[in-house]
């Protein structure tokens, strides 16, 4: 099952590393990363495969928001279908 992780906030050293380390610890594979600075904000969108994750979706979501809080970023994970549904026919 694929999901989308989005990270938005003030740019700083080590954001991608920190997010990837956390995902790796949950046994989540990163499929694609797209990152840019949008209107001064660090903005990253990652596609990940969570089918082999070692915890539940809620725990993944909680641990990522916790990491976001620690780093002053907004980090969320959502199942990919919501974006497909809204933007493709």
């Amino acid at each position: 099952m694929n999901a989308i992780v989005t990270v938005v906030g003030q740019d700083r050293v080590g954001i991608i590393a920190a997010v990837c380390i956390r995902l790796a610890s949950l046994n989540i594979n990163v499929l694609d990363i797209s990152q840019t600075i949008l209107q001064g904000n660090f903005t990253m969108v990652m596609a990940v495969d969570i089918s082999e994750a070692n915890v539940s979706f809620k725990e993944i979501s909680d641990t990522l928001s916790e990491l976001g809080n620690d780093m002053g970023l907004s980090i969320r994970i959502q199942r990919e279908e919501i974006f497909d549904a809204m933007h493709t026919i």
């Binding site: 797209s34 809620k58 969320r76 919501i82 974006f83």
Partner: protein, 452 residues
């Protein structure tokens, strides 16, 4: 494979434009709960609701987390209780309201609808008992919502029921006078009520529905408003196109959630209701969409035209996005629940007469409007009759949810709390409609050709 712009736009809609699923409503048939013994019937009702809706809230919450989309309410609608309670020989149906309340609390849902009677053609003894039980039922329960259908295009308008409902609304207000007449916020009087409406207070599980069903109501005035900011000053056909595209996106999300909830709960998917349902939050207002189109204040001349276009464009965009559309599907204009409507009413630009005109072209009707506490019951009945006539003639659903606020006068404001918001007390005409309402009887069904 990633389209960053689309992903971020979805997140912005949820974060900043109040995009949400307003409700997942499980409809449950209670016909097999009828029993000559009222307490046995109540026990069966409690068991059945608890069994069917046991996982409704946890499933809704799981979907919220996985898709990152807020689902504001989880609700239950049941078969009209007048039909279920008819078998039980008791003087009033308050025990049925109480058991619905208990079952709803046990399941953890926000509201339960279906303390209802359908009396467009005539009233059975059970219908009348139910209607006369409404004031106490709503005063003594928290989550129960009630509705009465008094008219339809096929049957005409039952004016005896209209007359009775004016009194019932006044009694309901009086019994909840310590809460500014809050009971009336849970009572709606319909013409052409729909059987698959997921929205409260008017939801009930219709007689033509399956054993159980999942209906979903979407929302999204903030998203439409925000989209319209990008087409400032452009012609209205561009505005209509923009609304259509946005409504499509919003509805697709509703369809996804509905399908997912239906699968997880092992319950057939019923419909997606394409309504634009405002909340009292700033940035989630239907009135502000109309103002964005170029009206200085909602309620001024041009409002009906702007609303007609909004309502139609929402439907056009939404219909393609869902495999099954139903319910009320249109723009809601509940005054107390819409920050822009409250502001327009307080300025005096938006009055009941204009709201009545607006209901000719949009979903539902005179909704969540506070009127002075001393408004006579006959005047309330006459307002219901006007609204029912609009529904009957135009073959659409109309409704009245008025709150005669005890002890309050025009210019006061009542606080209803939560999604119900706060309502400025609006003036009604002081001239009497009493002799008209006292005639009672029936307004015959209209002719459906020679339409002008």
């Amino acid at each position: 494979m990633l389209n960053r712009k689309e992903i971020l736009s979805t997140i912005e809609m949820i974060d900043q434009q109040h995009l949400d699923i307003r409700t997942i409503t499980m409809g449950i048939s209670l016909y097999d709960c009828c029993d000559g013994d009222a307490s046995a019937a109540c026990a069966k009702i409690y068991d059945k609701i608890s069994r069917y809706a046991e996982k409704l809230v946890t499933t809704g919450e799981a979907i919220e987390i996985e898709y990152g989309i807020p689902i504001v309410n989880k609700r239950i609608s049941v078969s009209p209780i007048a039909l279920i309670a008819a078998a039980s020989d008791i003087p009033d149906y308050i025990p049925f309201a109480k058991v619905l309340d208990r079952a709803a609390k046990n399941c953890g849902v926000d509201f339960i609808g279906g303390f209802s009677a359908l009396v467009q053609k005539g009233m059975t003894k059970a219908d009348e008992k139910l209607i006369r039980s409404i004031p106490e039922a709503l005063a003594s329960t928290e989550l129960v919502c009630s509705s009465v259908n008094v008219g339809s295009t096929k049957a005409g308008i039952n004016m005896d029921a209209v007359g009775l409902m004016g009194q019932i609304i006044k009694e309901t207000s009086a019994l909840t006078s310590d809460r500014d007449g809050l009971g009336c916020a849970k009572l709606v009087v319909f013409c052409n009520a729909v059987e698959d409406n997921p929205f409260m207070a008017g939801a009930f599980h219709g007689t033509g529905e399956a054993e159980k069903v999942i209906n979903v109501g979407v929302s999204g005035p903030g998203v439409i408003h925000s989209a319209l900011k990008s087409v400032k000053g452009q012609p209205l056909d561009v505005v209509a196109e923009t609304i259509k595209k946005t409504a499509f996106r919003v509805t697709r999300m509703g369809q996804l959630v509905a399908r997912e909830a239906s699968e997880r709960l092992g319950t057939p998917f019923g419909i997606v209701d394409l309504s634009l349902a405002p909340t009292p939050a700033v940035g989630d207002s239907v009135a502000r969409i109309l103002e964005e189109m170029g009206l200085e204040v909602c309620g001024t001349h041009g409002t009906t035209a702007a609303l007609a276009m909004l309502n139609d464009a929402v439907k056009k965009g939404g219909i393609m996005a869902s495999s099954s559309v139903g319910g009320l599907s249109g723009a809601f204009i509940p005054v107390s629940e819409d920050e822009g409507m409250i502001s327009a009413a307080e300025r005096g630009t938006l009055c009941i007469d204009k709201l009545e005109a607006m209901t000719c072209v949009c979903s539902v009707g005179l909704d969540m409007i506070a009127v002075p506490g001393d408004t006579p019951a006959d005047t309330i009945s006459a307002i219901i009759a006007d609204e029912a006539a609009i529904g009957m003639i135009n073959s659409k659903t109309t409704a009245v949810r008025l709150i005669p606020a005890p002890g309050r006068k025009v210019g006061d404001r009542i606080e209803l709390g939560g999604l119900l918001g706060s309502a400025p007390v609006m003036p009604v005409h002081s001239e009497s409609s009493s002799d008209f309402i006292c005639r009672g009887g029936h307004i015959p069904a209209p002719v459906n050709s020679l339409r002008n």
